[in-house]
């Protein structure tokens, strides 16, 4: 239908529109080629080619190393369990908050979304302080109270990593399912009751099957994120030599001192990681190839809330306990540690002071890192916003030959782990191909951010453009505006809110980014995340906590500003 309209548009436009469309298309292809294709090509090239041409030596060497194989199996194991538990937790709470008469829903919903804003590696940091097997505060407490010989829990384990990842990733499923439940026509469930089904039967036979697409979409997000995740396994795993593929890649490059050989080895490992992701995507697709039903029909009636009756109090208690564990405990721990004079001291008022905050802000690196992160996330946000919208426009409205290639290329980095992307960026921008060396500059991080986050803005702009009917632009043409005038006066203003929200979708995660920047930073280009990470790595744990508190405060503040700015906007 669109293409017909487009042909008609092209006809009224004659040659002029054709040339402008062509220009936009070429710019699009070029940008995506440089930002996405080149780094990916460089990884493949370096993994499979050496001085003597094509060779599988590097790859087979990696597979021969038991450490790498262990890392691979750990990655898979963690991802599978994080996905299973994350999905169960997410669906359970989505149902509880979306369909039952549990009290304090508004507050709980807001709290359940906090893990989404909170950088997971900070959570891992907090849990390590509480539950590491030597001096974790909570472990010591249990040992004292229960008179135990050995610490009862050890967060520095596969299960510890799974636990922390679940607590940060279940909102993916939670949010998808809650919104599906809200949009679902409640009469679908009511007529099952009329047909004689008990409440439990309705949940099993009607509600869950209907939200299955939302569940599997959320589960897929968890799976991909966990496979690619760097922060939590690096904080919790390194000390016990538990590696996943992303942390193993980092360790290999780190241990080689950033030499070309190390990076090549990293590239070969990246191929392994991408292979695992691809297989996981394929299997998930096979298992959960759910139909996409239209469940949003009908008049909006408030859904009948299911009365929990006797189960209400226990379930409320369970929810509060869960929130306490996943939100309050890690946050509280980070805050407490940030005030303690020295790591390891008991958490009592005498040991509290502001010294860590003073120290951390006396450190020039801190101010630099905050500045770097702000510069990077603002510029990555703006550039990706425009580039993503451009790609979306070309794909949706111009539809040139190969628009499918454009779309896939821009979405590709979404399923490529950040670690892998960094290696590609290092290989591409170290003078190898364009003769340009960006290594150790902010630019290289910026390029990586753009590649990584481009799909975010492309997605939001694309969804918005799809809703801008071509008749709106046609109406403007009928009023005498040229093609570019219609674009500027009609289409762009209509999708502006989507562009703005695309910007913030990039800006916020970029502010707390670690995975990509940890491989790309140079002496003067530490980001906020990297700075916290290295402070902790160097043993300055209370200072790292102090900076983490500042970072969390900053992120929350920005989030509030964003919600204030983006509400009540006109547009599609």
């Amino acid at each position: 239908m669109f293409s017909v309209n487009n042909n008609a548009m092209a006809a009224i436009d004659g040659k002029k529109r054709f040339s402008m469309d062509k220009l936009l298309t070429i710019v699009c292809f070029f940008m995506l080629f440089v930002v996405v294709i080149v780094p990916i090509f460089m990884i493949i090239f370096n993994a499979f080619f050496d001085k003597n041409g094509f060779s599988l030596n590097l790859i087979t060497e990696q597979f021969a190393d038991k450490k790498n194989l262990d890392a691979m199996f750990n990655t898979i194991k963690i991802a599978i369990f994080a996905t299973i538990f994350g999905t169960i937790v997410g669906v359970f709470y989505a149902w509880l908050l979306g369909r039952s008469d549990i009290p304090a829903k508004g507050v709980m919903r807001a709290l359940f979304n906090i893990p989404y804003m909170f950088p997971p590696f900070l959570g891992a940091m907090a849990w390590e302080l509480l539950l590491n097997d030597r001096s974790g505060y909570l472990n010591r407490f249990f040992m004292d109270v229960l008179k135990l010989e050995k610490p009862p829990l050890n967060i520095n384990s596969i299960w510890g990593i799974v636990f922390v990842e679940v607590s940060y990733y279940f909102p993916f499923v939670f949010m998808q399912v809650v919104s599906a439940l809200e949009r679902m026509d409640p009469t679908l469930e009511e007529c099952a009751r009329i047909a004689g089904a008990k409440q439990s039967t309705v949940i099993a036979k009607i509600t869950l099957p209907l939200v299955k697409p939302a569940i599997s979409a959320g589960a897929l997000l968890i799976l991909i994120s966990s496979l690619a995740h760097f922060g939590v396994p690096s904080i919790l795993g390194f000390r016990q030599e538990i590696y996943t593929l992303p942390t193993r890649i980092y360790a290999v490059i780190y241990n080689s001192g950033g030499s070309f050989e190390g990076i090549r080895q990293g590239a070969a490992l990246s191929v392994m990681l991408v292979g695992v992701v691809a297989i996981a995507l394929f299997i998930q697709n096979r298992i959960l190839s759910a139909g996409n039903y239209d469940i949003i029909k009908g008049k909006s009636m408030r859904p009948t809330l299911i009365k929990l009756r006797a189960a209400k109090l226990p379930l409320l208690f369970l929810s509060i306990f869960t929130l306490f564990i996943i939100v309050i405990v890690p946050l509280g721990m980070i805050i407490l540690i940030s005030f303690v004079k020295a790591y390891g001291l008991p958490l009592v008022p005498e040991n509290f002071s502001f010294i860590n905050y003073q120290k951390v802000f006396a450190n020039k690196g801190t101010i630099d890192s905050i500045r770097n992160s702000l510069i990077l996330s603002v510029s990555a946000g703006i550039i990706s916003m425009f580039l993503g919208t451009l790609v979306a426009y070309v794909v949706q409205k111009i539809k040139p030959k190969g628009s499918a290639v454009l779309e896939i290329t821009s979405m590709l980095p979404y399923s490529i782990p950040g670690t892998v992307l960094s290696i590609g960026v290092i290989l591409a921008w170290s003078g190898a191909i364009f003769g340009i060396t960006l290594y150790n500059t902010l630019w290289i991080i910026l390029v990586a951010y753009i590649a990584r986050y481009l799909s975010f803005s492309m997605k939001t702009s694309s969804a918005s453009l799809m809703q801008v009917s071509s008749s709106l632009e046609e109406a403007s043409r009928a009023c005498g505006a040229s093609h570019s005038e219609s674009l500027a006066d009609i289409t762009l203003p209509l999708i502006r809110p989507a562009m703005v929200s695309g910007f913030f979708l990039i800006f916020l995660p970029a502010m707390r980014e670690v995975t990509t920047s940890i491989l790309l930073y140079g002496p003067y280009t530490r980001t906020l995340g990297v700075h916290i990470y290295s402070l902790r790595d160097a043993g300055y744990i209370p200072q790292a906590a102090a900076l983490a508190v500042v970072a969390i405060g900053l992120i929350m503040l920005l989030n509030v500003i964003v919600t204030q700015l983006t509400k009540d906007r006109k547009g599609v």
Binding site: D185, C191, G196, L210
Partner: protein
């Protein structure tokens, strides 16, 4: 005829954050007879859907009790509440509510499978229900591939498959196009004849309600206005709201002075109609636009002129001025007037209602919010 569905003093209050307590259903007393087709008619927010949902068991009662087939199912005093699945009802929803993840057969078989009926019986009953709803041959199809009319037939088949004694229809036709709506109306009546159930039919479409019901209830703003047969409701509406809601109406605000009736705001010429004994100073005179006689020379009528003329397919509609007000007059095509032409009008059987209440208008606006 026994009373089959009985509502006694049923009241439902909702607590809203912005507007405080809203009485959605205010002291409803309804008796529906066995085998009857009974409609709830009214504008949105009048309480008709809430009442239906209380009968179905989706909402509890703030006050009162409900009896189905001689059995008490809801009672606020006895804290009795039979869950919807145990009320043995059939129900069809406006949005069809057919389950998109089940095919036609599975949708219709669902109520029987819940009852743990054996396979051959299920098969027999499902096939019969599909036959009566003209869905035979579509068993394996998924609802997403079917038209709106077919989806609504699935919903009907699913509702009749258990042979319920009471069928609740919640605006079942309003998502269908007009032609289909009419034929579905006949199908529903035919099914009722065949399966012999009592129907409660909720709608906001007066012509649909008139055509399908034996009796109907007109309600507004949570109050019952009138319960009667369609004919009586049309001919003897108890108040201005019912008059306006059923069929076409035209109203004139009048003042009564010295035993004469004048249009409000203009006392130059009196309208010659009989004044009821209980009339107060300010009243509203209501009439149907086709119950006004219009002529060129009957000087006994109210002298006025034609303001505008609209050609409708089966009649002509004139607006004539009465004082400062405009009155709708509908005539057959053969009676022709030109714009601004002088004429005389006579009211054949006018009805008298109290003058407009401003408070009521505000209450109505408030209800539109919820």
């Amino acid at each position: 005829m026994a009373d089959y569905i009985v509502l006694r003093n049923v009241t439902k209050k909702f607590n809203t954050k912005t507007l405080g307590d809203i009485v959605a259903v205010d002291n409803f007393n309804i008796n529906v007879h066995e085998g009857e087709c009974f409609s709830f008619l009214g504008p949105s927010g009048c309480g008709k859907s809430t009442t239906l949902r209380m009968i179905a068991g989706f909402e509890d009662l703030t006050e009162g009790e409900i009896e189905l087939c001689g059995k008490l199912v809801s009672s606020s005093k006895k804290k009795l509440y039979v869950p919807p699945e145990d009320r043995g009802l059939g129900m069809v929803f406006q949005a069809f509510a057919v389950w998109p993840h089940m095919n036609v057969y599975e949708n219709v078989a669902f109520p029987l499978r819940i009852k743990k009926m054996n396979k051959t019986d299920i098969d027999k009953k499902v096939m019969e229900a599909l036959k009566h709803t003209s869905l035979t041959g579509l068993e394996k199809t998924f609802p997403g591939d079917l038209s709106g009319g077919q989806q609504q037939r699935i919903a009907l088949a699913r509702a009749i498959v258990t042979n319920p004694k009471v069928m609740l229809l919640d605006e079942p036709l309003s998502n269908l196009d007009p032609k289909l709506r009419e034929s579905m109306r006949f199908e529903i009546k035919a099914l009722q004849k065949k399966f012999n159930f009592t129907i409660i039919f909720v709608t906001h479409d007066q012509s649909e309600a008139m055509a399908i019901s034996d009796r109907m209830m007109v309600c507004d703003m949570g109050k019952i206005m009138q319960i009667d047969t369609p004919e009586n409701l049309y001919n003897k509406p108890v108040n201005r709201f019912v008059h306006n809601f059923l069929g076409e109406s035209t109203f004139i605000n009048v003042v009564v002075k010295d035993n004469k009736v004048y249009p409000k705001g203009n006392t130059n010429q009196a309208i010659k109609i009989a004044i009821p004994s209980d009339a107060s100073n300010e009243m509203v005179v209501a009439t149907r636009p086709n119950e006004i006689e219009i002529s060129k020379n009957d000087t006994d009528g109210y002298k006025t002129h034609i303001e505008s003329r609209t050609f409708l397919t089966d009649r002509i509609e004139y607006l004539v001025s009465v004082g400062n007000q405009l009155v709708k007059v509908q005539t057959p095509h053969r009676i022709k007037f030109d714009k601004n032409e002088e004429c005389y009008i006579k009211f054949v059987s006018p009805m008298w209602y109290p003058a407009d209440d401003e408070k009521e208008a505000m209450e109505r606006a408030k209800r539109q919010v919820i």
